[in-house]
């Protein structure tokens, strides 16, 4: 069974209509962000992962990630992934889900005995422009809570490589809007895992766009009396780019299936989510470099739309755990199973596997 494309197609259409990269690259202000966000909200997309009974769409992770892939293919510059993940967490914790732009509370915070929030959170994508922040925070006893807070008026604001906003919030005894103790159904790292998978999907979409743009450009650009697409060196660059994009897409899709199959905490999907974030992050680096090479100097200008994708790829691969971070997780996860559990971890079937053993001399 292949997942339903309807939601992804809707997402693609909204971005094409209101946030087409070529158009917004020439825009003088960010008014388009308001419009595209409104359209996304009207279509219910930020609440894709919220069950219907809680006012959402109740889409599967696979469908939601396919929507994010479509958004990534338009160099998504709004907190769609963050809001989807945050809203999922709130609903999962049994809390009301506000229809607000959400960003995440990254590590650095504690809840005190009175249930107040203290500390400085690490800089989070879109935190400086979100309306509310969502996260999983521990109290002094190590008990984890799901909390939703208003965005503080004072933030340390910064930008990622693409110029998208991020911010680090400081709390001195702020009372969350709502909170709930983490239930057994939710894992401490669920938000991180889901956000990593979401970034993988966005990157996979951006890589798809790079293939399309680069192939298109190679078929137009003339050099030495023919289009550069006729040079084998260029063809091979593009073939490699397409391969990286294909790997990224499959890895992101597989992460979605693993998340959908995880009953209870999403940590059951750790293997495929970590693998996706690593592999897609690698593809982002390779793919962005190839796309720039094929575009020549024109791609190295503010006017050209290419940087909307490549700069985001370079940022997204760092968000919610870089390749290095997730590779270490994955490496430890596999090593911990020992040599006899290795194949079981890869295949998801823990039964012991025989191997032709002995010294092959």
């Amino acid at each position: 069974m292949v997942a339903d494309r309807l939601i992804a197609d809707t997402t693609a259409r909204i971005f094409a209509d209101l946030a087409e990269p070529r158009t917004v690259n020439a825009a003088h202000d960010d008014a388009w962000k308001v419009e595209v966000w409104r359209a996304l909200v009207d279509a219910g997309l930020p609440l894709l992962w919220v069950p219907e009974e809680a006012g959402g769409i109740g889409a599967s992770f696979v469908e939601g990630l396919a929507a994010l892939e479509a958004a990534g293919a338009k160099a998504c510059a709004v907190p769609l992934a963050e809001t989807m993940a945050g809203a999922w967490l709130l609903a999962r914790a049994g809390l009301n889900v506000p229809t607000k732009r959400l960003a995440l509370l990254l590590p650095g915070l504690r809840l005190n005995a009175a249930g107040r929030l203290w500390g400085q959170a690490a800089a989070a994508p879109f935190a400086s422009s979100a309306e509310c922040l969502v996260g999983i925070v521990e109290d002094a006893d190590g008990v984890a809570h799901v909390v939703l807070v208003e965005r503080p008026s004072q933030m340390e604001c910064s930008e990622d490589l693409a110029g998208d906003e991020r911010g680090s919030a400081r709390f001195d005894g702020t009372l969350p809007v709502v909170g709930a103790t983490l239930s057994r159904e939710v894992g401490r790292r669920d938000l991180l895992l889901l956000s990593a998978a979401a970034r993988a999907a966005l990157m996979a979409g951006a890589l798809d766009a790079l293939v399309e743009m680069s192939v298109g450009y190679a078929q137009e650009r003339q050099a030495f009396g023919r289009t550069i697409s006729k040079f084998q060196a260029v063809q091979h660059l593009l073939a490699r780019l397409a391969g990286e994009a294909a790997a990224a897409s499959v890895a992101a899709q597989a992460a979605g299936w693993a998340l959908d199959r995880a009953e209870g905490p999403l940590a059951y999907a750790l293997f495929d989510v970590a693998a996706a974030k690593v592999r897609v992050g690698e593809a982002a680096g390779v793919g962005a470099a190839i796309a720039h090479q094929v575009h020549g100097a024109i791609g190295f200008t503010a006017e050209h739309v290419l940087h909307r994708f490549t700069h985001r790829l370079w940022s997204w691969r760092d968000d919610y755990g870089s390749e290095t971070f997730w590779a270490e997780e994955l490496g430890r996860h596999v090593a911990a199973a020992g040599v006899d559990g290795f194949w079981g971890r890869l295949t998801g079937n823990p039964e012991p596997a025989s191997r032709s053993v002995g010294l092959e001399i």
Partner: protein, 385 residues
């Protein structure tokens, strides 16, 4: 998804996955009976007729073929699981692998009813070994430069010429090869080649070993000197072999054998790194695993397309390009991560696996279509050629 290349992934369904446990139990038994013992000559390319017969008795050769020809009408996804488990185990598959993967499907599509009824059940019984006779001294990547000839003779053909790099021909019953039946035309240089089924025991055929640099004997020179084949051994359309090649490629290039041939290195690496590797090794291992897991998923995606009756030739080329590149890089990475780690016995095992992987790594990106040729095919899929 990009034009021309589409990888819709869905995981193997639980009812298919359950086959994995059966295969592992089968391998456990085979192992107890000594069938997984490493061969004297070493390597995953191993020929063991008994093992193939046993596999056949389980219904795991010709899995997707029609029952009337001895097949089992199971899905490509089930075939994927069986193969993946066998490959991981380092099982001896050479006696049936080529026939199961590509020669059988080729015969199903293009051979006469008599031939199908004669040969396919023997393949399914694990009794029949195939080899592929495409390459010649003057024709490798450029398949259509083949000059070995087929000349009509009575109710059949006479074949002459030299095939090279013919894997397993010294142990095979048949070869499916391409032979020139007409000159190329000015409009189409691919024209004029036909595909023939060749009984290697026929008079006029000699098979001579060509050795790997390591000294191992896996491939051969096959010399044909006016060897007779009956008329119905011409497969498909005369002079049109070029059209028949593409579907074969989708089968040949996308399977897990494209990245599991030297998996022993990774297994032995995991062994010597132990359950709590240092940070450097954990990161390196994690990156290797992320690559491998993604390749597995891509290979499943292609199996899914085959199961839906598609011919994903471009996607198969992507899997082979990425898979062989990953596997070719594996020994250097493993060697780096393993530096200075491990108990002596585990190290010895690792180093043997590593040595073998280093020595065969160069061939991975040559056999079955070179990296450069694959990238040309992918470029065509992208509409660039």
């Amino acid at each position: 998804m990009v034009q021309g290349i589409s990888f819709a992934y869905a995981p193997l369904p639980p009812e298919v996955e359950s086959l994995r446990s059966d295969v592992r139990r089968f391998l456990h038994e085979a192992s107890k009976d000594g069938l997984l013992a490493p061969s004297a000559e070493g390597g995953a390319v191993r020929f063991n007729r008994d093992f193939s017969r046993r596999l056949a008795a389980k219904g795991w050769i010709g899995m997707t073929w029609p029952r009337i020809y001895g097949g089992h009408e199971r899905s490509h996804l089930e075939r994927f699981i069986v193969n993946e488990e066998l490959l991981f185990a380092g099982a001896p598959l050479t006696a049936h692998f080529t026939a199961d993967r590509q020669s059988g499907p080729m015969l199903l599509k293009y051979a006469s009813e008599d031939i199908k009824r004669d040969i396919l059940p023997r393949i399914c019984a694990g009794e029949c070994t195939f080899s592929i006779g495409m390459s010649e001294p003057g024709s490798g990547s450029d398949l259509f430069a083949a000059s070995s000839k087929a000349v009509p003779d009575g109710n059949g053909w006479r074949l002459s010429g030299r095939k090279v790099w013919t894997s397993t021909a010294h142990l095979a019953d048949y070869m499916i090869g391409i032979f020139r039946t007409a000159p190329a035309t000015r409009e189409n240089r691919r024209h004029g080649l036909s595909q023939f089924l060749v009984d290697l025991s026929a008079e006029g055929i000699s098979v001579n070993p060509i050795r790997y640099p390591s000294g191992d004997h896996h491939f051969n020179e096959v010399v044909l000197d006016d060897a007779f084949v009956p008329g119905d051994h011409l497969l498909g359309e005369r002079d049109m072999a070029w059209r028949q090649a593409t579907s074969e490629l989708a089968y040949e290039r996308s399977g897990p054998e494209r990245f599991l041939e030297t998996i022993a290195v990774l297994v032995e690496l995991v062994r010597i790194l132990g359950e709590t590797p240092d940070r450097y090794a954990a990161i390196g291992l994690g990156r290797l695993i992320a690559g491998l897991q993604t390749l597995r998923h891509m290979s499943v995606a292609v199996a899914g397309m085959l199961a839906r009756g598609l011919e994903p030739a471009t996607e198969a080329s992507v899997v082979k390009d990425l898979g062989t590149a990953w596997e070719q890089a594996l020994p250097a990475i493993a060697r780096d991560l393993a530096e200075g780690v491990g108990e002596p016995e585990a190290r010895l095992r690792f180093e043997h696996a590593l040595a073998r992987a280093i020595l065969i790594a160069p061939k991975l990106t040559i056999q079955g279509g070179t990296t450069e040729i694959l990238r040309g095919i992918i470029a065509r899929g992208l509409g660039l050629r």
